[in-house]
């Protein structure tokens, strides 16, 4: 084990102890609403931030004799209000498709998805008002300044002109980009762009922050700064965070609960500590299992082996990694 690995393991253990001490991840999910004033209609009082039941999604046109690619195959999932939930798995596992169904980007042909009680198929606009979304790609506009990027999202979320500047300034301050706010985004580092995207998502006071591979391609220092930023903002606002990643160490350290996804299905669900305890019980040869071991145990293969997404998955990942430098 390298020093870095050891340090990472120590940090993971500290985080796990922190979670265990506070009871995170072991509550029943009822009565945990943090009471932010966001939300409309069915959203009020919903104990679960996200509920998926039997979610399925296939790509390709249904033609006679042609097989459709089943990206999501009967996903059942609950994300509790106020928690950081990690959806883990290799490229092509179905994480991004699940996220896109939750964020109303894709229709829900089979199954049901609710966000704070709102059916994503029927109440798209209500759902979108509750969401902050950061896609996998570096999506800030390089031709605008950081402040202008955040302003755009303030405008499309109907922030009144009178409070727009103040709200944008607060979002920028929340991600610690005050000094760089009036520079063109083209001059930002990858980590700064990610933090700016967080500010864009935060400016509308979302109840659910959805992050698709937020640290992909970033160096360890930038990854830590992005996660610390997410953690600080969540702690301050009480919002729910749903994040996809294939970095198991990050999930172990920062997520209250995780869902391990492979080949379109959730293979295991629970707190990192619970999942590791299950593996420890079932496999005595692994007295100190990592989340990688947990994944291998439940998915029956190593993370990073086998089919790892299609051409577009890999291209998107490489493009993002290339842009963050």
């Amino acid at each position: 084990m390298t020093d870095d690995d050891a340090a990472s393991r120590d940090a993971t253990n500290r985080a796990a102890a922190d979670r265990d001490a506070t009871g995170a991840g072991t509550d029943t999910g009822t009565g945990t609403s943090t009471g932010t004033s966001a939300g409309t209609g069915a959203a009020a009082g919903a104990a679960e931030a996200v509920v998926c039941r039997g979610l399925e999604y296939s790509f390709g046109k249904p033609r006679a004799g042609a097989a459709r690619t089943k990206a999501v195959d009967g996903v059942d999932l609950e994300v509790r209000t106020g928690e950081v939930f990690g959806l883990l798995g290799p490229n092509g596992a179905g994480k991004t498709t699940t996220i896109r169904a939750i964020t109303t980007l894709l229709p829900v042909p089979a199954g049901m998805v609710r966000v704070f009680g709102n059916d994503t198929a029927r109440r798209k606009m209500d759902v979108r008002r509750l969401l902050g979304y950061v896609p996998q790609q570096l999506s800030a506009d390089a031709g605008l300044t950081g402040r202008e990027n955040v302003e755009l999202f303030a405008r499309v979320f109907d922030v009144p002109r009178a409070e727009r500047a103040a709200r944008v300034a607060q979002a920028i301050a929340a991600v610690d980009l005050v000094e760089a706010a009036d520079r063109l985004v083209g001059t930002y580092s990858g980590g700064m762009v990610r933090r700016l995207e967080l500010a864009q998502a935060l400016v509308s006071a979302p109840r659910l922050l959805v992050l698709d591979e937020p640290t992909i391609g970033l160096d360890p220092i930038a990854r830590t700064s992005v996660w610390e930023c997410i953690d600080a903002v969540r702690a301050a606002t009480g919002m729910t965070v749903l994040v996809t990643t294939h970095y198991m160490d990050e999930a172990d350290q920062y997520c209250h609960r995780v869902g391990l996804m492979d080949r379109g299905r959730i293979r295991a669900l629970g707190t990192p500590a619970e999942l590791k305890a299950q593996v420890r019980e079932q496999d005595p040869e692994l007295p100190h299992p990592t989340l990688d071991d947990v994944f291998r145990h439940f998915a029956g293969r190593n993370l990073g082996h086998g089919q790892e997404g299609d051409f577009s998955d890999v291209r998107r990942t490489r493009r993002t990694a290339s842009r963050v430098g």
């Binding site: 932010t36 950081v84 969401l131 063109l184 006071a205 606002t237």
Partner: protein, 292 residues
């Protein structure tokens, strides 16, 4: 890692030093969602947002504005000046350069708009479009915003071409109402052509294909219109194409407004408005294909 659930800060939270002595930023406003805009006010608000972005981008980088001015300047300087001297195209009492200038304004606006779909595909690839589609913005409002953002760019381009034409001695009106009409015509024409481009983008899905199709249709649209010569000089089949070509109505209106030739302004505005509505409808219906 903080405990879950975390207690949100009160909305009126002041910036105060925390227990560790570090000053935390005030996040009070970020705890209260903005009130949703509904009804008819939604679309104008989104259009303004998209137009503001285009103007901000142009403010930061005017290169495109300068480089795009080269082609219309060459058309007016070389083609216009030459054919004015040749007198081979009958334009009545109007010098050919004056006759040509409105056509070149329409052409340069169309060239900007017809490749706008490439920007939509770029936004799809970079995640910007995905992020916008997750905001409470109906697709039609998003397409309308993008279409008029292209229009704003085209209007700025039109101002540049008008100035070049004025320097070359083209006799144009400086009546503010007529110039306002010119801006509306350019805006509507560009909105239509950008919607056409976004519609094609929704069908072909890739930049390379869109580039090829854009280049294939640009010249037929230009030469199949009254931008360079009167419709009466065209063969019958080309006259029929010209009548179905929105660029012809745009040029007709621009000529009428700028140099005072007889024009069918109500028909021109009506066709351009209808074409824009149809374009927005088609592009909105296909935008979802880009999100998949």
């Amino acid at each position: 890692m903080s405990a879950v659930p975390a207690a949100p800060l009160p909305a009126s939270a002041e910036q105060v030093p925390a227990a560790d002595g570090v000053r935390r930023p005030d996040l009070g406003l970020l705890l209260v969602p903005p009130r949703a805009r509904t009804g008819w006010r939604l679309v104008p608000a989104r259009v303004l947002a998209m137009c503001a972005v285009e103007l901000q981008k142009l403010r930061h980088d005017r290169t495109e504005l300068y480089t795009r001015a080269v082609q219309p300047a060459l058309w007016l300087l070389i083609f216009g000046e030459t054919f004015t001297k040749l007198r081979s195209i009958p334009t009545g009492n109007i010098p050919y350069l004056d006759y040509l200038a409105p056509g070149i304004i329409a052409q340069s606006a169309m060239f900007i708009a017809i490749f706008y779909g490439i920007m939509i595909i770029w936004e799809r690839d970079s995640g910007v479009l995905t992020k916008l589609l997750v905001t409470p913005t109906p697709r039609a409002a998003l397409v309308t915003g993008k279409a008029f953002a292209a229009g704003v760019k085209a209007v700025i381009q039109a101002v540049v071409v008008i100035l070049i034409a004025a320097l070359l001695g083209v006799a144009m009106t400086w009546n503010p109402l007529r110039l306002l009409g010119v801006a509306v015509v350019v805006l509507l024409g560009s909105a239509f052509f950008s919607c056409l481009s976004m519609t094609i983008a929704g069908i072909v899905l890739t930049r390379d294909r869109l580039m090829g199709i854009g280049q294939a249709i640009t010249m037929p649209l230009f030469f199949g219109s009254n931008a360079l010569y009167p419709v009466g000089l065209m063969p019958g089949w080309l006259q029929a194409i010209s009548k179905a070509n929105p660029l012809s109505y745009q040029v007709d209106a621009l000529r009428g407004l700028l140099i005072g030739t007889p024009a069918h302004l109500p028909l021109d505005f009506g066709v351009l408005a209808l074409a824009t509505v149809l374009g927005i409808t088609a592009a909105s219906a296909l935008l979802g294909r880009l999100a998949k």
